[in-house]
């Protein structure tokens, strides 16, 4: 395990991460059981998983529930340790060309599928092509477009055949990817399920049925044992996993419990060892009753309000800024949320690695000063007691969003603003927001990979998620430049400038930084407290005697 350091450095992974991975190297891809820990006889874990996964096929996974299961079943070229650092996975090492465009991975000799077949470079070629092939219709095909893998976009658009993708099996154990532009965070992206290998032979043999128990073959720490839609997915330890000797848990069951109250009940009835969430209304009492079981960890995401910059008066930055300034973020974080969320004054959360979001000017003011400034800006824009600003605040139907909206509407009241709260069912809401049929709308974004661009790219003019329809050429330029620069300092500088533009123009008002909160039984060991992408790999956990 010594080679990878060189590889990591070459791949342009920030120095901070590098140092962390040196410390973590002894316990990569495995549970770290402290000396003297008495392990339970039955190493079985039951995890609440929020909802039924749309798929557990790596290239077809759509949401968090599917992602958690696939991360146990499969392993990509790289993976993450418990702290979220990128560590070697199926690739034991890799080299990067001088222009940072050609990545050559050496796949472990010991990498095997659960049926004993070796994992080959061909399996990776097959999986990468499959992700972009229009035939597969993968929702995450864009994940191959972002790092600009050669021809990825053309293939997704149906202009080139899938086998023209810039991936190649040099020999059975050497896999090569070529990018059109240097993308500094490419290696980090490879811990995402879209890039996981799939067993070509099995997929071709069973077609759409290959993900069924009995058919599925996987290369991660676990293999599929049972799957009942809307009830459970059961995984068993994969003895052919290259690092199986360091896995501790033998069986993990995922329960797709949608209702958080039902999940809590099953946790209390000792049927679930680790919940997916904590119901908001129970958080405070649980924190009092079982403080050791309430685990709150930082998350790579921001909760925000988006202004429709194409609609009057939100085309005026002063109006947007006034509304943003008047939000008392401390009060929202502390009293409305209260699970340890931090106030957000930048779009990128502080949890991101390799970049420290700047201290924006308005974050340095007191709330009193911000309120005064808000009043000034609004009257400058022509609104005041005589001509009150009237608009709708749109959010998706949910108690938590409602609470935040009510609180913020109250904070806006002194400005002479008249807000009507409008809530819509989830898909209806998404339609309204995507089509720009709103004044101000609630939004939230969780990073897809641990790098600031996963957040900041959202506000570029061509991004599909740019709901505020914000167009700023300087901002676009900074973000496209950030892909080309090679040093971390330069990139951080560009990101800082981008954040400053957001603070000046305020197309979105960041409100708070997300946290993940779960109930975890005291006998579950190894629960990661600092993986900001909330990747909880079962292979890192263990059950203590209880």
């Amino acid at each position: 395990m010594k080679k990878p350091f060189k590889a990591l450095k070459l791949a342009g992974i920030p120095a901070l991460t590098l140092a962390a991975s040196i410390m973590a190297v002894t316990n990569a891809n495995a549970a770290i059981v402290p000396a003297g820990t008495q392990l339970a006889q039955a190493q079985e874990l039951v995890r609440g998983n929020g909802a039924e996964p749309a798929s557990i096929d790596p290239q077809k996974v759509e949401g968090v529930p599917g992602s958690s299961v696939t991360k146990d079943l499969f392993e990509g070229l790289v993976t993450q340790d418990a702290d979220g650092n990128t560590i070697p996975g199926q690739a034991e090492s890799w080299t990067v060309s001088e222009d940072n465009k050609v990545f050559t991975f050496k796949i472990r000799d010991t990498a095997q599928w659960s049926n004993g077949d070796p994992v080959t470079a061909g399996d990776f070629v097959f999986a990468f092509q499959r992700a972009v092939d229009p035939e597969t219709a993968s929702r995450y095909a864009w994940f191959m477009e972002i790092p600009t893998i050669v021809n990825a976009s053309a293939i997704v658009k149906g202009k080139k055949p899938a086998d023209s993708l810039g991936v190649k099996a040099i020999d059975d154990k050497t896999f090569q990817v070529t990018l059109e532009k240097p993308v500094p965070y490419f290696i980090k992206m490879l811990a995402h399920q879209t890039t996981f290998p799939v067993p070509q032979k099995i997929v071709e043999k069973f077609g759409d049925h290959w993900t069924r128990p009995g058919n599925m073959v996987s290369n991660g720490a676990y293999k599929l044992a049972d799957w009942r839609v809307n009830e459970k997915i059961v995984l068993e330890r994969n003895s052919n996993y290259w690092n199986d000797k360091e896995t501790v848990i033998n069986k993990v069951t995922y329960l797709p419990i949608v209702s958080t109250t039902s999940e809590l009940n099953r946790y209390k009835a000792d049927e679930v060892d680790m919940t997916n969430l904590i119901p908001v209304e129970h958080f405070k009492s649980l924190k009092k009753q079982i403080p050791n079981e309430v685990k709150v960890t930082p998350y790579l995401g921001t909760y925000y309000y988006t202004f429709n910059t194409k609609r009057k008066p939100f085309d005026d930055a002063r109006v947007r800024k006034a509304l943003s300034y008047a939000i008392n973020r401390d009060a929202i974080s502390k009293y409305v949320k209260g699970q340890g969320e931090k106030p957000a004054y930048t779009f990128t959360p502080e949890t991101v690695s390799g970049f420290v979001p700047p201290t924006t000017d308005y974050s340095k003011m007191t709330q009193g000063e911000r309120n005064a400034e808000a009043k000034r800006l609004l009257s400058e824009a022509g609104y005041g007691p005589d001509k009150p600003l009237k608009f709708d605040l749109l959010y998706n139907t949910d108690e938590a969003h409602k609470k935040v909206a009510i609180a913020i509407a109250q904070m806006w009241k002194p400005l002479g603003v008249k807000v009507t709260l409008v809530n819509q069912e989830w898909k209806t809401f998404l339609d309204s927001r995507n089509d720009g049929k709103f004044d101000v709308a609630r939004a939230g974004w969780i990073g897809d990979y641990n790098e600031a661009s996963t957040m900041l790219d959202l506000n570029t003019s061509t991004h599909g998620q740019n709901d505020s329809q914000f167009v700023n050429q300087m901002y676009d330029k900074l973000m496209s430049e950030s892909r080309v620069v090679t040093s971390d300092e330069e990139r951080s500088h560009l990101y800082t400038e981008a954040e400053k533009i957001l603070a000046d123009e305020m197309p979105v008002a960041p409100i708070y930084q997300y946290v993940t909160s779960r109930l975890v039984k005291p006998y579950v060991g190894g629960y990661p407290m600092s993986n900001v992408e909330d990747n909880v790999y079962t292979r890192d956990l263990f059950i203590k005697k209880h």
């Binding site: 798929s55 839609v229 009835a269 898909k427 209806t428 998404l430």
Partner: protein, 330 residues
């Protein structure tokens, strides 16, 4: 007392009369009505579903247009609506309900095949409990009118009717799973009895309560009617009067209540399935609608629609068997 056996004979011969027509004609007529009804149901559901805002592919991540186009092409959503409908009907006639739009690894047929047995098992058991307990308790209360038994039964049924299942079910979990730890709080476990007790009980309570009330008043009414008085006057034993003479007519209102309720019971309760984490039809129906899983919702609509039509006919037939007034229509 030969009427029952006679009726069955006529059923077998096909000469049994229902609503004044022979059984065979009755069934033919019902099928004749059912097919256009189902067609209209499919048509309406298909287009209403499409009219709802959002699509199966709207998500919190806005897909690039080229990816959306690939997805739509895969599921024929890029074609005009009438053509999509034609595709759907064509597959439907071959018994194929299509791929699920949400669960990429499954077809609707497979999802139904997995979930239907769960709902039917829970539902049938709940139905059985309902009939046995509801009729039993109602009769008991009627026979012991204004006694403590009557009051107890009626109080229980009042509670059962008033408390909705989304209160009763979690309450049961709180008592029997969390505090006493007697029974599991959720899951199906391949249909182990421990996992079934709470959902069946939670589901049955509401119906038992309703049936007991209906049964009680109908039994009291029947016991006061002339033919029972005649039977009493003839000196027939009490047990004989109740079981041979009073029970059947007293059951009529129960049948007309439970007949239409039957389909609702066996096709799964959303609340019960959500609270107990049961992999049945009810959860699919609700999630399907929320996910805009067009094919799943349509498939379930067709199945539930067909069952409703089927059981309405069955109730009519049963009615004919129980109620001489209808049977002697000729």
């Amino acid at each position: 007392m030969h009427s029952h056996a006679e009726a069955w004979e006529r059923v077998v011969e096909g000469t049994h009369l229902i609503n004044g027509v022979p059984m065979f004609t009755f069934i033919l007529k019902r099928i004749g009505v059912a097919i256009p009804t189902l067609f209209i149901l499919v048509l309406l559901s298909f287009f209403l579903m499409q009219m709802a805002p959002g699509s199966p592919f709207t998500g919190d991540f806005n897909m690039p247009p080229e990816i959306l186009a690939n997805l739509e092409a895969k599921y024929h959503l890029d074609k005009p609506l009438w053509q999509q409908f034609a595709y759907y009907l064509k597959d439907l006639l071959q018994g194929d309900l299509g791929p699920s739009f949400k669960y990429k690894d499954y077809t609707v047929n497979e999802l139904v095949a997995q979930s239907f047995p769960v709902s039917i098992t829970i539902g049938s058991l709940a139905f059985l409990v309902t009939v046995l307990m509801g009729v039993g308790l109602g009769t008991l209360a009627a026979l012991r009118q204004n006694s403590w038994i009557d009051y107890t039964v009626m109080t229980f049924s009042m509670v059962g009717v008033v408390l909705p299942s989304f209160v009763i079910a979690p309450l049961m979990v709180l008592i029997f799973s969390i505090s006493l730890k007697w029974l599991p709080a959720g899951g199906w476990n391949d249909g182990s009895w421990q996992n079934m007790v709470l959902p069946v009980a939670a589901m049955a309570i509401l119906y038992v309560a309703a049936v007991a009330r209906i049964m009680r008043s109908s039994m009291i009414e029947t016991l006061n009617s002339n033919f029972i008085r005649t039977a009493r006057a003839k000196g027939l034993p009490r047990r004989h009067i109740i079981f041979k003479h009073a029970l059947k007519p007293a059951l009529l209102p129960v049948v007309s209540y439970l007949g239409p309720a039957f389909v609702g019971i066996i096709t799964g309760s959303v609340v019960i399935e959500t609270v107990f984490g049961l992999p049945g039809i009810g959860q699919h129906f609700v999630n399907g609608a929320l996910n805009r899983d067009y094919s799943l919702v349509l498939g379930l609509t067709i199945i539930i629609g067909s069952l409703t039509i089927l059981f309405t006919a069955v109730v009519d037939i049963l009615y004919g068997l129980i109620d001489p007034k209808i049977r002697v229509g000729s």
